[in-house]
Amino acid sequence: MAEAVLSFIDAQHRHPLPDPKWYKPWDKRLGPGVVGLNLDLYAGSVLGLVGPNGAGKTTLLRMMAGILPLQKGEVKARFHSDTLAEVGDLRQWVGHMPEQVRWQGRMTVRDILIQLAEMRNVDQTRIDGLLGLVGLRGRQDEALNNLSQGMRQRLSIAAALLGSPKVLLLDEPFNGLDPVASQAFTDLVRRLASKGVSVVISSHMVAQLEGLVDRIALLHRGQLLDEGPMEDVERRLDLDGRYALSGTGEVDAEHLFHDLDVELLDLQQDDSHWSLTFRGSPLSVLQAAMANDVSITSWSPTRPNLVEWLCAATGMSVEDISLDVASSALLPMKTAEVGEDE
């Protein structure tokens, strides 16, 4: 792995919330946000930032984009030289694509990009290339008010790429993109990474990131639970080696898995079909299925979903997690690596 291009050390930003008292009507207290974050971004790497609603993904991206200041901790970068040095303003180096920007107004696509280029102090000749890259060349004279959601998403990508960023932040970038655009976007992210851009993609859909990200960061209640290559994180959380098996007819899973060193995770069965997820040796399961005349229609490795990641990382149950997500707050929590209350 290359050296970190951007490094956050014990970084914190918690949102100030109104806390009025009769003697201090405008008093505020610190609410949820991101606390004690230690995270490195690498050149040419794609990091998937995963967490449920309210986990702090957008806050973290805004911290990385230089929009929200660090209340504690420091940020170091290797933009200027080969050594990590403290950096004051990240905005010059970072391209930020916020979630679901509803570009509106009478300005045209081209005009808004020119304005942003002026704000970035970058050459406007890049705009033509970018419009072609995101497929908006034919719509460049269209007023922002007339763009569809997918076109607006493409414009957001173009805006994020204006300054030839060394770090590209993408907040839920797949929202609003059709499958063709999603595929083109995935290719674009890969191409940018191959050119040395460090890409951060936030999503609450782990499956969407599969095959695209090199590393994953699991965020919950403003804390980084685990980070690293997806396989490593899965292994650390005991979530690796999962397979999905489905077939027709009926299956007696208890009998099938008898005497096998396999953990049955899920079983769904109706009148004519069944599907199950297990963890263990796939070969032994397939052999047992064949020996018991079980009809198999598909077999594939599978990844845990976001809830399973969170359950494994926090040690909480599904019920607790779902309630906890609904009332997200900053509380001491159990982390996967430390294994004890912080």
């Binding site: 929009i67 303003d89 930020h96 009478r106 002026e118 704000m119 102090n121």
Partner: protein, 276 residues
């Protein structure tokens, strides 16, 4: 590109977008009615105003016609700028703008300039029309100094209300709150300030509304320094030798500077702390 040019470029785009919007087309008839319309009315040779006043020269007509600026142009400034920040915040465009490496105080300056220009351009065009109307009806032009003060002070009062509206826009999460704040401030200084003045006069034992009472005139003159409309009228009165409300020209100009600098500074502070 240097910083100043960048600020002006961004301001120009904001201005052009606002100038081409439907909002201005809706407000234009109101402005025409209030600015050249009032100038036409007050320059009627036989007009007798309440109290037996009769405008005797071009500057006096412009002073009376400035009622149209107070009622129309300032309201248009509020309506033009109330969503200057809140609209972009609601749409997510503010986050994109704040992520650009242009310093936030420069972005604030561009916002102020862009919005102020967008209302000042039609207002100034109509003020020049006012001068033409006065010339047509009275056969005289105001002097160059009177014209400069008239234009400058009108520009300032429009700027102040633009600043109030933008400040509200940075504070309010919803556009409704921003417009309520802007219109509320406009209403306070345009209609309710008389009430505030009367209450202070009553509490001070000054006879309320006695135009011939020196203490009332002095109190009203001083309290007007606390209102942007009052300072605007004081500025215009510097060109009317017949009017003396006990406030020196230097006090008026200091008031004008403070009404400009304080909200300008407050808006920059707000922008520095702004969260998308």
């Amino acid at each position: 590109m240097n910083d100043l040019k960048r600020i002006f470029n961004v301001a120009r785009r904001i201005r052009n977008e606002r100038l081409s919007g439907i909002r201005l087309k809706v407000m234009l008839p109101i402005l025409i009615l209030f600015l050249p319309g009032l100038a036409w009315g007050f320059s009627e040779p036989d007009i007798i105003l309440p109290g037996g006043h009769q405008p005797s020269n071009a500057m006096e007509v412009l002073f009376y016609a400035s009622l149209g600026v107070v009622l129309g142009a300032t309201m248009c400034a509020v309506l033009m700028a109330f969503d200057g920040v809140s609209r972009d915040r609601a749409s997510g465009m503010l986050e994109v703008q704040l992520a650009q490496p242009m310093p936030r105080n420069h972005q604030a300056s561009a916002l102020i300039l862009g919005h102020t220009q967008s209302i000042l351009i039609p207002v100034y065009a109509l003020l020049f029309a006012c001068l033409g109307v006065v010339r047509l009806r009275m056969g005289e032009w105001p002097s160059l100094q009177e014209t400069v003060v008239y234009m400058l002070s009108t520009g300032l009062v429009v700027l102040w209300y633009t600043l109030f509206a933008l400040l509200a826009s940075t504070t309010a999460r919803e556009q409704g709150t921003a417009i309520a704040f802007g219109v509320g401030v406009w209403f306070l200084f345009t209609f309710l300030w008389v009430l505030v003045t009367s209450m202070v006069a009553y509490a001070s034992g000054v006879p309320v509304g006695e135009a011939n009472d020196a203490s009332w005139v002095a109190l009203e003159g001083m309290l007007d320094l606390l209102s942007p409309n009052g300072v605007y009228h004081h500025l215009l009165e510097t060109q009317l030798p017949s009017v003396d409300r006990g406030v020196a020209a230097w006090q008026v100009w200091i008031g004008a500077v403070l009404w400009t600098v304080v909200p300008w500074w407050a808006l920059h502070k707000r922008m520095e702390a702004l969260v998308p």
